[in-house]
C-alpha cells in the first residue's frame, strides 16, 4: 500500500483557480475523508490524485513517486464512483475481471482473484448478473469489488454512498470500515456527509473554496475547530455562534447583557473586544425562568425519539439550536429560557480564526 502526498497542488478551470496550492500527506494505510460544501474542490482534488484531471501546479506523489504525468491506470489507484460506473454491457464477473484481463493476467488467476473478492464482499451470487439487474447497494458492492480486485496501492471513493437510501448507507459505511480494517489499505474518501466523515475517517480534511481549512482526527475537528468555517460546517446540528464582547474583567458579555465567566479564566485581549462564541447544541439547555442567560421562542421542534432538536429565535433575532432529551416539554411557540454551558466552547476573532 502507498502513501499519497500533495505538494502545492493547483488546479485552474479557465482562469479560475479551484484548487489553491494544497499540501497534504495521507499516510500508508490511513483512511482520510475529504469533506466540504458543494463546489469546495474535494472531488476535483480526488480526481487529480486519480489522474482524471490534470495537475496545473504542484506535485502528486504516490508511494514517493511523482505521478502527475502518468496515466490513471499507471498510478496504482482504483476509484469507486458516485454513480458506480459499472460497465453496463458486462456481467458483474466481467466488470471485476476486466482490468485484470487487460493487464495480461492468466485466466485461472483472474478467476480465482474475482471469486476471492466476490466472497469478501458477499457478492458471489451476483457475478452472472448485469448491473441493470441489481439494486443500488448491490451495484455499489460490485463497484467496490472492481476496485479491490486489482489490489491497488490507494483506493479513492468519490461520494460512493450518496445514491443509496439511509439504511443502505449505514450498511455500506460499516462494510467500507470493515474493508479498511481487513485490507489495511490507504483510502481517500470524498463526501459532503459529516456523519460519513466522522464515522469512517482516521483523519478528516475539511476543504472550502479550494483550500484546506483543517486536517485532524474527527474528534479534533469536532472539538477544536481551527476556524469559524470548520466550526459551523462540522457537527449536525451546526454549532451555535453568538456575538459577544470581552468584559472589563475578562468575562464574556452576551448580547442580552448577561455576563459569564470564561471556563479557562479570562478572555485575552482588551475590554470591548468583539468575538464570536461557538457552542455546540448539546451545551445549551432549557432551564427555569430565572436561571437562563438567553430567552427565546421555539419556532421548530424536531422530535427524533431519544432526543429533541429545538430551534429557538432569541429576542435579539439570533437563531439557536438546542439538543434536548426526547421528552423535553417545549413546544412550538413556547417562550423558553436557555442556559449556556461554556465547557468546550470556542471563541473566534472577527476574521474567523479560533482564538481560545
Amino acid at each position: 500500500m502507498g502513501a499519497v502526498q500533495l505538494l502545492g497542488v493547483q488546479k485552474f478551470f479557465g482562469t479560475m483557480e479551484v484548487i489553491k496550492g494544497i499540501d497534504l500527506r495521507v499516510d500508508d494505510g490511513e483512511l482520510v475523508v475529504f469533506v466540504g460544501p458543494s463546489g469546495c474542490g474535494k472531488s476535483t482534488l480526488l480526481r487529480m490524485i486519480a489522474g482524471l484531471e490534470d495537475v496545473d501546479g504542484g506535485e502528486v506523489l504516490i508511494s514517493g513517486v511523482e505521478v502527475s504525468g502518468l496515466a490513471p491506470a499507471k498510478r496504482g489507484v482504483a476509484m469507486v464512483f458516485q454513480n458506480y460506473a459499472l460497465y453496463p454491457h458486462m456481467s458483474a464477473y466481467d466488470n471485476l475481471a476486466y482490468g485484470l484481463r487487460r493487464s495480461g493476467m492468466a485466466r485461472a488467476d483472474v478467476d480465482s482473484r474475482v471469486r476471492e473478492t466476490a466472497a469478501l464482499l458477499q457478492i458471489t451470487d451476483l457475478l452472472p448478473r448485469r448491473p441493470k439487474a441489481m439494486s443500488g447497494g448491490q451495484r455499489q458492492r460490485v463497484a467496490i469489488g472492481r476496485a479491490i480486485v486489482r489490489k491497488p496501492e490507494v483506493f479513492l471513493f468519490d461520494e460512493p454512498l450518496s445514491n443509496l437510501d439511509a439504511a443502505l448507507r449505514v450498511e455500506m459505511r460499516s462494510q467500507i470500515a470493515r474493508l479498511h480494517q481487513e485490507l489495511k489499505a490507504t483510502m481517500i474518501f470524498v463526501t459532503h456527509d459529516q456523519v460519513e466523515a466522522m464515522t469512517l475517517a482516521d483523519r478528516i480534511v475539511v476543504l472550502n473554496s479550494g483550500r484546506v481549512e483543517q486536517v485532524g482526527t474527527p474528534r479534533e475537528v469536532y472539538h477544536n475547530p481551527a476556524n469559524l468555517f470548520v466550526a459551523s460546517f462540522i457537527g449536525s446540528p451546526a454549532m451555535n455562534l453568538l456575538p459577544i464582547t470581552r468584559g472589563e474583567d475578562g468575562s464574556i458579555l452576551l448580547e442580552s447583557g448577561e455576563q459569564m465567566i470564561w471556563p479557562g479564566g479570562k478572555i485575552d485581549g482588551p475590554p470591548g473586544r468583539a468575538l464570536t462564541l461557538g457552542l455546540r447544541p448539546d451545551r445549551l439547555s432549557l432551564v427555569g425562568s430565572d436561571q437562563g442567560q438567553i430567552s427565546g421562542t421555539v419556532h421548530l421542534a424536531e422530535h427524533l425519539g431519544d432526543e429533541t432538536i429545538l430551534h429557538v429565535q432569541t429576542a435579539a433575532g439570533r437563531a439557536l439550536t438546542l439538543k434536548c432529551d426526547g421528552d423535553a416539554p417545549a413546544r412550538l411557540g413556547d417562550l423558553v429560557q436557555i442556559g449556556l454551558d461554556l465547557t468546550g466552547a470556542c471563541l473566534f476573532d472577527p476574521d474567523g480564526r479560533r482564538v481560545q
Partner: protein, 315 residues
C-alpha cells in the same frame, strides 16, 4: 333507470369510465396527428410496393394495360447476363464500401468526440458533403480524378507514383465508385458521435483507470456501448449500397463503363424501365432486390441479439 342526466353525468361518472374516455380521446388525437404520415406512407410507399409486386408478374410497357405473364419476368432476369454482372458488381461494392465507410465514420466520430474547440464547425463541415447533390459530387470527383488534368493524379505523379486511370481502367473503376460513395460520411459520423456522447463520462473514466491502453477502451468498452449505432449504420449502409445508382450512372452511364465494371443492379433496373420501357422486367428486378435486402436485414437483426447491447438491457 340507471341513466343519469347529461348535467349530472360528469360528477357521477366512475373513475375507470373517465379514464377510458380520456384514453379514447388521446388515441383519437394520436391518430389525427399520425394521419398525414400514414396517408403519405400509403400513397408513396405501400401502394407502389403492391403495384410493383403485381407488375413484376405482368407485361407492361407504360402504355396500355398490364398483361399477366406469371413468373416469365423472373425467368427473363435469371437469364439476363447484365443482371448477373450488375448483381456481382453491386455485391462487391456493398461488401467493400460498407465496412470501410463504417470504420471511417467511426474514426471520424472518435476524433470529433475529442474536439472541444469549434466542435460545431467541424461537425457542420463533415456533414456538408451529405447535403450536396450526388450528381454534383460525382462530377467534382470526375474532375479531380481526370487522368490528364486532375489534381489527384498530378499529386501522385509528383510523388513518383504511377496513378491508375481511375475512370477508364476496369480494374480501378469500381474502386473509384467506392471512393466516391465514401465521401459523404456525415450521417454515419453523426450517428456514431451521438452514440459516443451518450456514453457516461464516469464509465469512460473507469475504463481509463482499468487499463492505460486506449485501444482496450475502444474495443471492450466504447464499441460495445455503441453497437446500436453500428447496427443502424450497417443496415442503412447495406440498403444504400444495394441501391447505389446516381454515382454509378454519372461515372459509368447506363452501360457501366468501362467494360461493365461500374454496372450496378439499379442501373440495369433503370435501363430496363426507362430505356426499354420493360416495366415488368424492372419490377421483377425490384422485387428480387427487395427480398434480398429484406432477408439480409432480417439476418443482421437476428445476429444482432448476440452482439448489440441496448441500454436498459439486464440479461
Amino acid at each position: 333507470m340507471g341513466k343519469s342526466t347529461p348535467s349530472g353525468q360528469a360528477g357521477a361518472e366512475t373513475l375507470p369510465r373517465r379514464r377510458r374516455r380520456a384514453g379514447r380521446n388521446e388515441a383519437r388525437a394520436g391518430v389525427l396527428f399520425a394521419l398525414p404520415w400514414m396517408i403519405g406512407l400509403a400513397i408513396f410507399t405501400a401502394i407502389p410496393l403492391v403495384l410493383t409486386f403485381y407488375i413484376a408478374q405482368a407485361r407492361f410497357q407504360i402504355t396500355g394495360a398490364p398483361k399477366w405473364v406469371g413468373l416469365q419476368n423472373y425467368s427473363a432476369i435469371w437469364a439476363d447476363p447484365a443482371v448477373w454482372t450488375s448483381a456481382q458488381n453491386t455485391l462487391m461494392f456493398a461488401m467493400i464500401s460498407v465496412p470501410i465507410k463504417l470504420v471511417l465514420a467511426l474514426c471520424l466520430a472518435l476524433l470529433l468526440n475529442r474536439v472541444t474547440m469549434l466542435s460545431g464547425f467541424y461537425r457542420t463541415v463533415f456533414y456538408l458533403p451529405f447535403l450536396m447533390p450526388a450528381v454534383a459530387g460525382s462530377i467534382v470527383f470526375i474532375l479531380l480524378l481526370n487522368p490528364v488534368a486532375g489534381p489527384v493524379n498530378m499529386m501522385l505523379q509528383a510523388m513518383g507514383l504511377s496513378p491508375p486511370d481511375w475512370l477508364l481502367d476496369p480494374k480501378a473503376a469500381l474502386w473509384t465508385l467506392i471512393l466516391l460513395s465514401l465521401w459523404p460520411l456525415g450521417v454515419e459520423t453523426l450517428v456514431f458521435l451521438g452514440g459516443l456522447q451518450n456514453i457516461p463520462k464516469d464509465i469512460s473514466e473507469a475504463a481509463d483507470l482499468d487499463s492505460p491502453r486506449g485501444w482496450h477502451k475502444l474495443v471492450w468498452i466504447t464499441i460495445p456501448l455503441i453497437t446500436p449505432m453500428i447496427l443502424f449504420n450497417l443496415v442503412t449502409g447495406i440498403i444504400y449500397s444495394f441501391q447505389v445508382f446516381t454515382q454509378a450512372l454519372v461515372i459509368g452511364g447506363t452501360t457501366g463503363k468501362p467494360a461493365e465494371a461500374t454496372l450496378m443492379y439499379m442501373v440495369v433496373l433503370y435501363r430496363a424501365a426507362f430505356r426499354y420501357f420493360n416495366m415488368g422486367h424492372a419490377a421483377a428486378m425490384a422485387t428480387v432486390l427487395f427480398v434480398v435486402v429484406l432477408l439480409l436485414t432480417l439476418l443482421i437483426f437476428r445476429t444482432a441479439r448476440s452482439w448489440v447491447y441496448y441500454e436498459g438491457e439486464s440479461r
